[in-house]
């Protein structure tokens, strides 16, 4: 149907691969159209009790069947209104523990589906999102009746989307998750096999699902498999395969090298008095804003993010340090914080629009704006360690949110001195007056507070206009 006939709706650029249905947006709400071709499987999902079991257990996003106009009525069977996700994240933005939880959820879904005569027909990491503090499957059209005797159709996809990145993160380098920015459809198994250390060939799970799998892929590339009736895969064998994958994923562990988790708890450069005062000020300033969403940039382990999420503000806690994000996520899980989403984001190179027509993954900016941005102990890292002029910083923050809670760290601070220790100080504008002057074209300063027992200052600003 020509788009002029439905000016208020648009189909999502990421939703086109599966003919079972697609996502579209209307009046700010996300809907899912189920196509006629998926009718039988949709009815089976409901009739088998699997939908009820998974949604009650928080494993699958719940939806309502609505009578709204379908986006493409010619092929439509139903229109669903799923529970809305606050923020869509991508696998290269997840820390190791988030990735592992997402992989284990996918296998749990497969096990529960198999028990009711269904399976998941795709194992894309994009189908998993973090919702109210835990991973959840967002694609209600992922299930279908198990075709009798068939091998699992999504086995390779699971290995490329989950197992290969996790194995590389655990056995080689945690930063290798960033390969998924290039390989959005999963890390090719031959590449994973080449990058993994030789010792992983002694690990039965990785030897089978990565190394042998890569060799089989290479050996049979482009060849059609031949049929022989009588040779098929039983339901028990599928359960066994899922169980083996689960054991392999469970065994993958990561911890920052040379450090212990406990070392990440320490707040740097603050006396207890300064830290307590900063916490009090942040809480007071947040109360003034009355915002619903906040992006905490440079959140570290999320100490200050929790001041926002604790007030029911949906808080994205972004940091470029995989260990800090991991620790933040583990704490979020432990405390069952439903409003906090820790993510791995490098502000000097924020996630870009990726995939087909640059529309499958949205850039960070496209996923905004938030109501407020918080940038505590961050400015010196961007302005001095990364040479970003203060005016550019102000402009960038102003695109992300209306409110800004920001901390200025002067040159006299020991952390800034550390950054300048091995380089020439070319930052003549980096001082309090220069900071205020750089932010003035974009923001009004509503509050300015010195932090006790430190040389740092906290500002509350609101975007001009």
């Amino acid at each position: 149907m020509p788009s002029r006939l439905r000016p208020s709706a648009h189909r999502l650029g990421a939703s086109f691969r599966d003919p079972s249905g697609f996502l579209f947006k209307r009046k700010g709400k996300l809907y899912r159209q189920v196509n006629q071709s998926y009718r039988q499987n949709y009815e089976l999902l409901k009739r088998s009790g699997l939908y009820k079991e998974l949604t009650h257990g928080g494993l699958l996003i719940a939806h309502k069947e609505v009578r709204d106009q379908p986006y493409d009525p010619k092929i439509a069977y139903k229109v669903l209104l799923p529970e809305q996700i606050a923020f869509i994240s991508y696998p290269y933005e997840w820390c190791f523990s988030q990735f592992k939880d997402a992989a284990l959820l996918t296998l749990e879904l497969q096990k529960r589906a198999l028990a009711r005569g269904l399976w998941i027909k795709d194992a894309s990491a994009k189908n998993i999102q973090f919702h109210q503090g835990r991973p959840i499957l967002i694609d209600s059209l992922s299930f279908e009746a198990v075709p009798e005797g068939q091998p699992w159709v999504a086995y390779r996809q699971f290995c490329q989307h989950f197992l290969a990145p996790l194995a590389l993160m655990a056995h080689k380098d945690v930063r290798l998750s960033q390969l998924l920015r290039v390989y959005v459809e999963g890390i090719p198994l031959d590449l994973a096999s080449r990058l993994l250390p030789g010792r992983t060939r002694l690990n039965l799970g990785l030897a089978t699902h990565i190394h042998l799998h890569a060799a089989a892929e290479k050996r049979y590339a482009g060849q059609a498999v031949q049929s022989q009736p009588g040779r098929s895969i039983s339901r028990t064998a599928l359960l066994g395969l899922t169980d083996h994958l689960e054991r392999t994923v469970h065994a993958l562990k990561w911890q920052p090298s040379g450090t212990a988790w406990a070392e990440y708890y320490g707040e740097t450069n603050y006396s207890p008095k300064a830290a307590a005062h900063k916490e009090k000020l942040v809480g007071q300033l947040l109360a003034r804003t009355k915002v619903k969403t906040l992006w905490d940039l440079g959140a570290n382990t999320g100490r200050y993010s929790r001041l926002a999420s604790g007030r029911g503000i949906f808080t994205l806690a972004a940091d470029a340090d995989p260990a800090a994000v991991d620790l933040n996520y583990l704490q979020t899980k432990k405390k069952r914080d439903e409003h906090l989403l820790p993510l791995l984001l490098d502000l000097t190179n924020p996630s870009a629009a990726l995939g087909w027509a640059n529309q499958e993954h949205e850039s960070l900016l496209e996923r905004g704006p938030a109501d407020a941005v918080m940038a505590l102990a961050l400015v010196h890292h961007l302005a001095i360690a990364n040479n970003v002029p203060l005016g550019r910083l102000a402009e960038f923050f102003s695109q992300l949110g209306q409110w800004l809670l920001i901390e200025f760290v002067p040159k006299s601070d020991s952390q800034v001195q550390l950054l300048l220790a091995a380089r020439k100080d070319i930052f003549s504008d980096y001082h309090l007056d220069g900071f205020k002057a750089a932010f003035k074209p974009f923001y009004r300063i509503l509050a300015e507070h010195p932090i006790k027992d430190s040389e740092r200052r906290l500002f509350l600003m609101k975007r001009n206009g």
Partner: protein, 79 residues
Amino acid sequence: MKSNIFPAGLLMAGLFVMPHAGGSLYLDPGSGSFILQMIIAGAAGFLFIMRNQVARLLGFTRRRDKEKKIKKTRSRNAK
């Protein structure tokens, strides 16, 4: 260059796979992936059953020991 990692005998066993039938199959499952699954799924299924049996036996033994303990405690209390 062909990989030597994949044992030829196993490959022969895996060659006879049912073709894709049923299911939506909008994904390309990959011929190599299908063949590998045919080879390993049987063993994985067997291990799965064995593990479940062992777990069931252990559970039974633990339950029996627990019941014995409870009975002993009850009879002691009765005295």
